[in-house]
Symmetry: C2
Subunit: 177 residues, 2 copies
């Protein structure tokens, strides 16, 4: 960050009075600019005993498979964002069931909020950000071609735990290797 969003003057990194961390502060108008982690909302969408995955048509991880997920927008709910991403990436209506997991990814300042969801009909097709969309049974999941470690972690947990009726939502971390 070089310039103030409010007045266009230059900013400096310093600790404002009463704060504990350095922030970008405007040298002219004094506005403090905060930067915070982003929420990625997504869902593991099932149809009968299969799971909906999308092959990414965009970087990062072009050509690799992911669950529908993306940055939450202003004015959304986490579950609403997960359903929107499913519509955008797979042209599918995700009926959100319950919270599945929260993954912290501190080195990129992201929090993944992942729900379980289902389709009411096997209707889906690639959205603009996807090359392909496909239902995979649990023993067909393309483990070697998954887009992100958090997707792998969530799917692994889903495959292992989904049959446990009272499975509590998991909170875990993805730590830089």
């Amino acid at each position: 960050m070089n310039y103030c969003t409010m007045c266009g003057a230059s900013v400096s990194s310093r600790i404002p009075a009463g704060d504990t961390l350095p922030r970008f502060v405007c040298d002219e108008c004094g506005m403090v600019h905060y930067h915070n982690p982003k929420v990625v909302a997504g869902c593991i969408v099932s149809w009968q005993d299969r799971i909906l995955l999308c092959k990414r048509a965009i970087e990062p991880s072009y050509g690799l498979w992911t669950i529908p997920a993306g940055f939450m927008e202003l004015g959304e709910t986490t579950d609403g964002a997960a359903a929107r991403e499913t519509m955008e990436e797979a042209c599918a209506v995700a009926e959100i069931d319950d919270l599945f997991a929260v993954y912290n990814i501190p080195h990129v300042s992201q929090v993944y909020v992942i729900f379980r969801a289902h389709l009411n009909a096997p209707e889906y097709s690639p959205g603009e950000e996807s090359l392909e969309t496909e239902l995979f049974s649990k023993n067909e999941i393309p483990w070697d071609d998954l887009a992100f470690r958090v997707v792998r972690a969530a799917l692994k947990r889903y495959v292992e735990y989904e049959s446990v009726a009272d499975h509590r939502p998991y909170v875990g971390d993805i730590i830089r290797r």
Copy 2:
């Protein structure tokens, strides 16, 4: 937002190619500036059968009671942020137990991630942002003097459900009245 953080030129609100929502885009360098919801991490901290609350020394809601909670910082985990807020606001070491609830507050673009936690000793005192810190039994909670609707919702749920051993984390919305 008036000016680009990168180059200091003016920005315009428009929908970038391939996007679906208006963003602030730099008129000179073309940088797209995204704004996303913020995570507020907090915890309901217990000592034996009492709950730790803080009377706010800052606006908004100066003088009203809250659970320890605040904006998650870059590089943090949700549970780490909740423990840090407890230290900052109540000078207390929160031992995080499990996820209690996720509250979406779409009209202010916030997501509260609230954990259950406990103290290992009844050691606490007001931090800089608190006027007082106090342990309340469940029938002493100052319902009429709570700082935010989300705090009231979480405490109400805690008081009602905390005794249920397999209580699943709740996902709910706080909607504009």
